[in-house]
Symmetry: C2
Subunit: 471 residues, 2 copies
């Protein structure tokens, strides 16, 4: 009899694992339980759907449930919520409209993802308060925008940044949290004419991106007439039935809607109930092959820890590429070829209106010191193209290295959209993975031609300056 591989959760990690396992070992029986109706969807695209640049949720789905079932021969059971795992009996129990089923497994993958967190304040249950964690959240938000615009089937962003249309502005609305979701949703809402008030608890937006990038993004949002409140923790959402006022430390702002983008937490309850260990980050602990403390039980994606490429320590970085990659690795492993899927570097990218930014590795000096490094950082501005080239712009690069070894620890880049901050970060990611020193990075023969950089790409300029500092 053939082995059975059971997957809990049908998004990036789960479906990557299921697909890869079945492809590599067609004899394997692959069963996926997904509690909702959507699988394998691009949650990263939700802000663009709400904005109106994407017209249907279906466009975010890379492979449909029918394709998984019919073309990939995967036993995909949507509408099935797994409520218990028994690692001793090697079974999972799932509930659906049709009742309860118990399914035995030889290998099991927990790919339960993460849930949007809500700030611990009064009023988050008022009407008009949203999060953006799921396809249905996206649908509700788009419907909200459509209602506010009085245009139910709008096909594109309405009016550009609110600044241009303040006299007939929709809104005002609040976005709580200045991370990826908060900023992407700020753009989505402002582009539809909403007056957006963005509240960030700490002193910087995108704090993981370092000071220079955070400030560039904040400046740019303000240029777009977004009201940015830094160091402004939201203390309550007030209203009768629906939200009417956001109360922060020094502000009271009347709003018609509030979007909470205050991060995510790993969904670990199922694992915990089964006695599976969590790691120091609070996500499910795994070995390099993503195996948990229970034999033949794996965890991957936004519910699980990974290993940091720079520190070698457990890290929780719930992003799409890792979910895909680790899911795929588990698929290969259970199909007979053990695969780690590699480490994570905390790399992330964001577009905010006409600015793009990326970050990777360790930038924060305290974090670097805790990992045993003696961090040194330089920030430089460099031309994005040859100075004489007509479309010249600027890229700001922040580069951090260890003083003793010169090892590259992390970087953040920001530029106008289209000037390449994000793709230019790739060289630094590679350097991190290879344990390269700044002097190595400085000597990379990166592609040059006048339309793409100055003779020294901005990353090389940063390496050159930091390398000088390290001597």
């Amino acid at each position: 009899m053939s082995d059975t591989f059971v997957v809990v959760g049908g998004d990036a990690a789960g479906m990557s694992a299921a697909s890869k396992a079945k492809r590599d070992d067609p004899d394997l029986e692959v069963v996926v339980f997904e509690k909702g109706e959507w699988v394998s969807y691009g949650a990263c695209g939700l802000p663009y759907y709400v904005k109106g640049e994407i017209q249907s949720l279906e466009e975010l789905v890379s492979v449909t449930p029918e394709q998984f079932r019919e073309e990939r021969d995967i036993d995909l059971r949507t509408g099935h919520e797994v409520v218990a795992i028994d690692p001793d009996d090697r079974t999972v129990t799932a509930e659906s409209e049709d009742g309860t089923v118990t399914q035995s497994y030889d290998s099991l993958l927990l790919a339960t993802g993460a849930a949007a967190t809500e700030p611990p304040v009064e009023g988050t249950d008022l009407k008009g308060v949203y999060t953006l964690g799921s396809m249905s959240d996206g649908k509700e938000l788009r419907e909200y925008v459509a209602r506010a615009r009085e245009d139910e089937t709008f096909q594109q962003p309405d009016r550009g940044p609110a600044c241009q249309y303040l006299e007939d502005c929709t809104g005002p609305v609040a976005v709580v949290g200045g991370g990826y979701v908060g900023i992407e949703m700020t753009e989505a809402l402002a582009a539809n004419g909403f007056e957006v008030h963005l509240f960030q608890r700490g002193e910087r937006l995108l704090p993981a991106f370092g000071e220079a990038t955070s400030e560039a993004v904040a400046d740019h949002l303000r240029e777009q007439d977004v009201r940015v409140y830094l160091g402004s923790e939201v203390e309550a959402l007030e209203g009768e039935d629906a939200v009417e006022t956001v109360v922060a430390a020094d502000e009271r702002v009347d709003v018609e809607m509030a979007l909470l983008g205050t991060g995510v937490r790993p969904r670990t309850a199922l694992a915990e109930d089964a006695g599976i260990e969590l790691g120091p980050t609070g996500a499910i602990a795994t070995d390099p092959y993503r195996e948990t403390s229970a034999d033949d039980v794996y965890a991957a994606g936004d519910c699980a820890e990974a290993t940091h490429a720079v520190t070698g320590e457990p890290a929780y970085v719930p992003l799409a590429l890792t979910a895909n990659r680790h899911g795929r690795a588990v698929g290969q492993t259970v199909a007979g070829r053990p695969t780690t899927g590699g480490a994570v570097a905390g790399t992330a990218a964001i577009k905010a209106f006409d600015v793009e930014a990326a970050r990777t590795g360790i930038l924060d000096h305290e974090e670097a010191r805790e990992a045993g490094f003696d961090p040194v950082t330089e920030t430089i501005d460099a031309n994005s193209r040859a100075g004489y080239y007509p479309e010249d712009g600027t890229v700001t690069v922040t580069l951090t290295a260890d003083r003793d070894t010169g090892r590259v620890l992390g970087a953040s880049l920001v530029s106008e959209y289209g000037e390449g901050a994000v793709h230019r970060s790739h060289a630094v990611v590679a350097a991190l993975y290879e344990g390269a020193a700044v002097e190595d990075l400085e000597n990379y023969d990166l592609a040059y031609a006048p339309p793409f950089n100055t003779t020294w790409d901005p990353v090389l300029v940063a390496a050159k300056v930091l390398s000088g500092e390290l001597r």
Copy 2:
């Protein structure tokens, strides 16, 4: 008495060395002999000047002779041609309008650059036959374009690709050679309404970029109504006084002008006359610190060899970044801190109309086998942005690795301009320098967000596919 550092040649390598040496050791006497009047100019920008996107040659100059003399305290002698070196006496002899001078040195840098080659055919001395090797070449070509346009001070490209205006086309003109200069000048001329006939001896444009990129560029040039002749070696240029006809193997084309872009050769005569050794590539041989066979005589830039990052063997790659970097390294070395400046990977980038491309490392299988590798290549097409993102395009990636070790050997990428083929190549360059295997590259945590790539960047997709092939 302070030491004297003499530099022969005042472009990228020479002025980088002079500037760095003087900055690091202000007591050093730094003398630069440059036979022309221009120093430190961006020859890479000349096609854009001819095209009309840059308005004056001065814009291509990053530092003026006056700045070198006054701000950087460098004894820069333009209009001085060095005619002899005596490594035993440690002197150079230079001629100028004012006569002959002999200058002694403690350290000497040969930065004599490269000269445009001409194909060994009849008629290259006819009027209307141009090369693009120097600022004065650029000036003449722009004057030619201005005359043909009957607009002496044109401020921008005139009419877009010739295809749109064939009925009132200027030209026809020939471009001989399908490398960087040939293709960039094809764009410059076609954008001004010339009917351009591009002759390439071999079967592929940009042969170093591999088949997929070469074909993509050729297809795109044809879309722009450039007449591309492949496998068409030019046998003669014919004309009474000025060029009138290009004669190739199977073609006779009447033209009003011909631009020769058939490569460059290192200027080594001065070194050879002084008994300094050339290497296997025909350029000046150097050690890792760019020192030649003569003590304290260095060579850097387009006249000298470098070491290839993948093979460890001597390589001749006359491009701007290496010249800058090795010049700077020599400057550091003579100022007391020996610096290699690193290897080269043969990385290059080009924009051709609305297409961009980059290549790095070793793609050619014969070349790879000669270096002791067993090459395997895969070419993939991948989305440049999330499939659902509105501005979606395609990036074609060709990736070559060694079968036994999995080591990444080289890559070529091509995309629409703006879709990131060039900047995405940076990750592969880094992988080459670090001796990374395809499986390592596959696991890099490259920055992802929907406006910049699919969850797997095209480079990761290529690595994933090639990695599968290697098992």
